[in-house]
Symmetry: C2
Subunit: 546 residues, 2 copies
């Protein structure tokens, strides 16, 4: 790990290479020529500003949590000062960070967290809570001198209540560890964000994340039963009750608080029985909008699919292109099947069609019944049902897709994603307007960006719209190019009254837009809550517009 | 209406009489003799303190909203100064209210509400928002001089979004009007609290109410998509999005705010297609605890019943007794069937058994499938399946049960309900401890109270427990007797970490217990939010511990 660029995604052992067919597709679409891949600099070549932690501070902190848990080595500070967004990659690749945390603290218990926070309040030191560091909105980046509090050691499953089907966990636990321990007891959390392998329960809650099966299990805020949060004003433990009518829901004040109020130390979450059965219905629909209608019908009739994912035509083509050299592509398995079966699908020509994946899971008979009923709905909507193995393939490979981004960027591309949520009536308009806005913002020298979209996280009243954009990077103006693209998209979201984010959060990168959308009163309420829990304003400054 | 006691429940045209069999049961159980029913005093015999509204205030308010919308007649003030709890009935029957609102204001629009609130902030006048006035926790009672703001005129359905399946309504709309308009379009809100016929959308949201089909549709806070709230600091309109990850959920700050932050003027709510089919599974289980286990299995296996209601043995007997004179009893229809079928049920003796109602509704095939699967679960749990007509009967008569309370009280009884929610592991302990506590608090001269209980509002992790208590009233110490009972119950809830309320709210009557359970930090957060939106502290004083 030590030699790998700390900024790249995931497991350094996994080979990241772009399938040739995909490069060809992009070259053709963008009138662009892929150069040689330029690897990210190794960590030792990325400078960080000198740590401002004094010897006295180190001594005091070491007394609190042990000297081995106060780290200020270069790699530690580098790794904890950036998230995983395109902007973070630009900064990393510039070879010099403008800001970095002064040290990384590793508390082992909620008591350790309390003493760090008490010390920091007194010392007027800013604290940045850090889970897995997978934020793509600048959620863990310093806004000035700060110490980062890593939750990595607080990673234990504390108690599984088999009767209530809840688990109490320390918030620093990573997805796979939690899911593994639940599985051995016959349970699942049912929460699988794209970052699942590298993100934590605390991060999910702080950023209000959504998993790929959210249509069945809900977003993380729906899974929270109670929390323990250490704030500068003291420790809050919310009540472990299924529901109540005793003032506003205190848990919901911490869900989405992005570390600005305190440190989420542990959480009690709803868990579910491992599904008896999982079944995929996969279809190709001729048009994105018709696909939206079919999906709406299925969800509004009261069925309970776990996963719904409707790709637009460009994204469907992109997925096909992934499969051109299945032996090299990390997503080869699913993609090969998509390609094979796509071509087989009757009545759909080779270049058209939108892929729709519907995943059902749960009690066997319910799953069979609902899959059949959904199939019927789709046939009514003139969709072509294709092999369900495509769904299984996607499910198997779903955590591999992010590995594509680093090599694309290294080939000289801007690659980023934007996501929102809106009611059905607005979704297609949003889709068109965001595409137009990105097209305008990113076209230069007649090279147009490639824009892919899918719907996922489906609700009776609407859905999340997820946009991936790929464009030739403007070598010397990468930052401005990205800012232009972001502003173009955010302006559309604000104009349409859509969510600025459905599951990535606000962080620092979207703070200005958030302040604009939220308005004075909503910001006043957030600031008032913060002032009551964090009177010295030491918690994660610069995030959520605060 | 004018001659009827304003304190009694519901439609004055409905005859309220206690079935003879029920009186006999109570007499036998409580070693008590029913006297003649003592009717509640007519409104003109109940004194209220003189209104403190000055002529100048009346003139100013009339300018804002029209003279016809500023009312301070005796009956108006009386009717708006009490809710519908046993405590309110005691006060009404004392013949003299210690506090009353000075006038009732009837805004017609959110703009009217804004001008009233602006005027009140400037005039340092307290404002009590009033929906249907069915609070049983002192949610609308003045804590000192105050003006009541009735939402009665703001009762229109503003927009039904057929595509998003949402409705935007003014918050003063009553349940039946809203449901009626939705039904004509093929939709239902699916929210049927016991007070449904006389309570409003705004009241439901302010108190975080739950409907009898909440197991399928969720509590009201789960149905809220967005809100318009007029606060003294200004108007907040939250975003109409299916979900987001942009700071804490602002809607959840107003759900459960009980009028202490501002006036909920309109709400956009999730609606659902009118179910294609409704199906009941009714069973008798030998023991309450075994019934809990069966219910838990059904919900945790992932089925989606709309209604689950498990009565303990005493409540089952009570329901049977209701049927002894079906011609007189308002709940005669259902009760007669319960009795008839109850006796027919094999293997259950005449005095034992706990009634379990399971209501499924939705897409036809799903309903058939789930009803069958639930039946199988129940048979495995050794329950005796009885005629599903019992469920239909209960459903038909469900809004008639509250009419029993007034005549029982008039016969000299204390009648009240307490409700909570807890995880499965705590529910049976709570059940036993609350019964013991009430028994101790209410037994006098060897007369024991009758205590009935049911589980309803079922969640995978637990359920709501609803307790009805009937005891001979201590004529000259009614208030103290009730306070003793309340304290006994609340102490158990606090000790067990159960919800102080699952769907009634806190109001003023449970404020002290709430402050104790919530603790300093949670109260600080609530007060900080209040200070930011209601800096002069004019909104509904004395509620929610504020």
């Amino acid at each position: 790990m030590s030699n790998s660029p700390t900024i790249q995604w995931g497991d350094p052992g996994i080979q990241r290479e772009v399938p040739g067919g995909l490069i060809q597709l992009l070259e053709k679409r963008m009138k662009w020529k892929a150069g040689d891949a330029l690897p990210y600099p190794r960590p030792e070549f990325v400078k960080v500003p000198k740590s401002q932690m004094t010897d006295e501070e180190r001594r005091q902190l070491s007394e609190l949590i042990g000297i081995e848990n106060v780290k200020d080595e270069h790699d530690e500070r580098l790794r904890h000062s950036l998230g995983k967004s395109y902007l973070d990659i630009i900064e990393y690749c510039s070879g010099e960070l403008s800001l970095a945390c002064d040290a990384v603290l590793y508390p082992g218990t909620a008591e350790d967290v309390s003493s760090i926070i008490a010390w920091a309040s007194q010392s007027k030191r800013k604290i940045i809570p850090f889970g897995g560091g997978t934020s793509v909105v600048g959620g863990v980046n310093p806004a000035g001198p700060a110490l980062t509090l890593s939750m990595a050691r607080m990673n234990k499953v504390q108690h599984i209540d088999l009767q209530a089907q809840t688990v109490r966990v320390e918030a620093g636990i990573l997805g796979p560890k939690l899911e593994g321990e639940l599985n051995t007891q016959g349970f699942t959390l049912g929460h699988f964000p794209q970052s699942f392998e590298y993100s934590t329960v605390g991060g999910w809650i702080a950023a209000r994340s959504a998993g790929q099966q959210s249509t069945r299990y809900g977003k993380i805020e729906d899974l929270v039963v109670s929390l323990t949060v250490v704030t500068p004003a003291g420790r809050i433990e919310t009540r472990t009750v299924p529901a109540e009518s005793a003032g506003p829901d205190m848990d919901q004040i911490f869900c989405g608080s992005e570390g600005t109020l305190g440190v989420i130390c542990d959480a009690t979450l709803r868990i579910h029985r491992v599904p008896e059965e999982r079944s995929w219905v996969v279809a190709l629909v001729p048009e994105f909008e018709a696909g939206m209608e079919a999906v709406r019908e299925i969800i509004q009739r009261g069925f309970h699919p776990a996963t719904i994912r409707l790709s637009d035509a460009p994204e469907t083509q992109f997925l096909r292109a992934l499969s051109s050299e299945p032996s090299k592509g990390v997503t080869g398995h699913a993609a090969a099947m998509i390609s094979r079966l796509y071509l087989r699908a009757k009545g759909i020509t080779g270049k058209e069609g939108c892929l729709l994946l519907l995943g059902f899971e749960g009690e066997s008979e319910l799953v069979s019944h609902e899959s059949l009923a959904a199939t019927k709905c789709l046939r009514n909507a003139k969709a072509t049902i294709v092999d369900s193995a495509i769904g299984e393939g996607w499910f198997e490979d779903r955590f591999r897709l992010p590995y594509l981004r680093d090599p694309l960027i290294q080939h000289g591309l801007l690659v980023d994603t934007f996501e929102t949520a809106a009611t059905w009536g607005k979704l297609f308009i949003l889709y068109r307007e965001v595409k137009e806005a990105l097209d305008t913002a990113l076209t230069f020298e007649r090279r147009k960006p490639v824009i892919l979209a899918h719907l996922s996280h489906i609700y009776p009243e609407g859905a999340s719209l997820y946009i991936t954009v790929v464009a030739p990077a403007r070598i010397d103006e990468k930052l401005q190019q990205w800012r232009d693209a972001q502003k173009a998209v955010m302006d559309v979201f604000i104009k349409q009254g859509a969510a600025l984010s459905h599951h990535h959060g606000i962080g620092s990168y979207q703070s200005e837009f958030f302040k604009k959308q939220a308005g004075r009163l909503e910001m006043d309420v957030l600031r008032a809550v913060k002032a009551s829990l964090d009177p010295e304003s030491i918690m994660n400054p610069g995030k959520l517009g605060m």
